[in-house]
Amino acid sequence: MMAKLIGKRITRNEDPRLLTGQALFVDDVELPGMLHAAFLRSEYAHAKLKGIDLSAALERPGVVAAFTAEDMGDDWAPGPPLVIPPPTIEDVEFYTRTQVPLVKDKVRHAGEPLAIVIADSRYIAEDALDDIVVDLEPLDVVTNIERALEPDSPLVHDDLESNLAAHLVQEKGDYAAIRESADKVIKRRIVIERGIAGAMENRGIVASWDNKQQQLTVWDTTQSPIPIRNGLASMFGLSEHQVRVIAPFVGGGFGPKIMMFYPEEVLLTWSTLKMGKPIKWIEDRRENFYATTQERGQIHDVELALTNDGRILGMRDDFLHDTGAYDPYGLTIPLNTQCHALGPYDIPNFSSDLKVVFTNKTLTTPVRGAGRPQGVFVIERMLDIAAKELGIDRAEIRKRNYLPRDVFPYDNLIIDQAFSSFVIDSGDYLPAMEKALKLIDYEKFTQEEQPKLREEGRRVGIGVVSFIETTGVGPYEGARVTIESSGKVNTATGVGTQGQGHFTTFAQIVAEQLGVDVRDVHLVTGDTAQFHWGTGTFASRGAVVAANAVNAAASIVRGKVLKLASELLDTPEEELELEDGVVRVADIPTQFISLGDLAQRSNPLRGAVEPGTEPGLEATAYFGPKYGATAFGTHAMIVEVDPETMMVEIKRYIVVEDCGTVLNPLIVEGQLHGGVALGIGNSFYEKLVFDDNGQLLNASFADYLIPTAAEIPTIEIAHQVTPSPLNPLGSKGVGEAGAIPVPALFAQAVENALGVDGLEILESPLSPQRLFELFHGEEKDA
């Protein structure tokens, strides 16, 4: 089949609704008699709860109900873990401590909910929070992950011996032995702090129990509507078919909206079941800073063992990962870090000791990148330092260590976040690097321009880093494709959508298979009443797992169309073509039948559907890859640092991306732009600052700086295509790719620009203040 639509820059089907304000977001849901909820949250990060008095709140006019953990009785239970610890890793220690719906015994992070108030309006519900009298006894707080492992540290969970949440060691080869024979061993400590996802839409939930229909409907800003439905049904003893979860248009996800179950999801559902009235809760931005999950937050002690000519012999990466107050998301983030620290490189000996640590802070779960940026930061920074110490060019040392193109599939022999062996399906790293070097004119910049500008006293620098990204992991997604009697095509899939363009890319695939206009393919995502098998939108898997399920379903429908048309037109299937919404006999344009007519004929009101056949032109299909499709690329940038203000200007930014088959270049470029922008925020502007009491000091957009149009440069993108052999479309994910290498690249380019002997950037994010300190050789504040 000739690709007519796949790979084309097609504008989006969903845009007219979004552009005219007609798209439904959760806060747009209005139901008759709807009540509004607000949560009382702990100001303390660690405190014993001694009592809550709701009586004054309940007396306030307009307040309908208010509940504490005690009121939930037997329904109060810590949330089920979202990802179980990996059974396939030997000797893994893992202590599951999941979040609770409302605090019962003690508060473990600031922002944890203590009570819910339900009132006629949001204003009254929020007023009533001030009426609640809470008796909290503050406890000593631990926020620092190293401090948390000291024997005398305060304990986040009193029933555990320490704040250790998990411990595991992964090894391949024999690092200790190779270290002895290495020409050079480089050892550094790398610190990476936390940031937020910062979706423009905060979280929100509308839960509505209809007692007469015995039906629960929940509109939820979740990335994962189907598991939410199944979980809520199981929690509250309902049949899964009594629960409909709708993730309508969601205003950005970036990871935290896949966390399950947030206390608010449980509380809103519990409350509507109890009260029989629809209830809405919309998170405010301050709550988002405290109560929505965050990421990054690791300390690495790294060693790289090399030969004198820059070949990596082995790496040791022992690190601590901050999980915050609970660990429902298991080991996903740090396992990603561990795997991506290997990068696109041939590292025969590897040893990594990982400790996951509880602290009195908001929990961490994946944020766009999900542990990968940390791993990339570690290996890329170590290579930069090695290059400097060995007198090798930065690009050259990478080239010397790439896995060669004929080695794939390549088994890295450690376990990845899917709990299977970390196999890279395909890759071709050298051309991506060469292309990036050419596009940024690396040779000319380093040989001519930079020395000249340096002489003028200007601090300009260049950076170039490579990365890989595991994408498109299983278990599976599904889709149902139906040709309707109008000739239009309905497609339903379980993944939710938060702006990735699913309404268009999936439509392109269907349209290509069935020969219809992309605008005539109507897509439903994220409504469990329409499709109820699947897991969700995460891990850059929409364009791989869901898209291939859509392709499979559409291909079956195509087969049905051809079979029926062949009978009706009395022509062999091979002589038929699907185009412009009709099936026609090739070379005889007058002999055709429309898809709409075929759909009607396949679903007759009289006569008989033959035994062994199905009515309708419809098919449901699933796709589950054996393991992930690994994307990769090289980013390069030129920066100038103002030595007075330490502001960094990005003068050029190059992305060479290989995400296999590109389904829609317009959308892929949009994903890359957004990823890089988040990466720039992660690198220089965005850092969550907690004080020693676990208070977040910058919990607003006025204090926590998300880059604006003024900070983000033009991003020049070039594609390379190495299709994944693991799926028929050959696609790989690209949703997170943009963000992953940026902090490593930024650090390298800025370090190069400053050009100070001995100045090494071993932390992320940076800031103008921090660069000033580094530049002037000042020690960091404790």
């Binding site: 007219p16 552009l19 304000g21 205003g251 957004g674 988040l678 604006t708 149009a709 033009t714």
Partner: protein
Amino acid sequence: MSEAMDITVTVNGEVFQKTIEPRLLLSDFIRHELNLSGTHVGCEHGVCGACTILFDGMPVRSCLMFAVQADGHEIRTVEDLGTMENLHPLQEAFQEAHALQCGFCTSGFLMSILPVLEGTTDLSEEDLKRAMEGNLCRCTGYQHIRDAVQLAAEKMSSGSES
């Protein structure tokens, strides 16, 4: 709680008379009293710009105003631009340049940029940056929005000539 107040406000050309609490935010009034949910609320502290509307022709953050302040004034929201079948040239440009992903911040961008382009379609790089830097977008990295504004400027300048 203070007494409810009567206000008369013109929104998208239609006159509304409502009795409201003085503390009601203009953003909530537009969204939940008038059911014009195209105006979105992202931060409620005047930084993200998602709730931007035109207030007597000037872009303002509707989350930073009380609805009572709109008494006697004229408001335009995203619903006053084109329809799904007949998009405004600025909306068309946003679709053509892929200037939106999740679409949550989009109404705010449209309402910030609209008066700029209605003033002049001859924008320098600096003008463009200034027109956009008051609004946050987490999805697009702004590049396609920049492209869209330039495209819209072309569309709107050729439109006004014809």
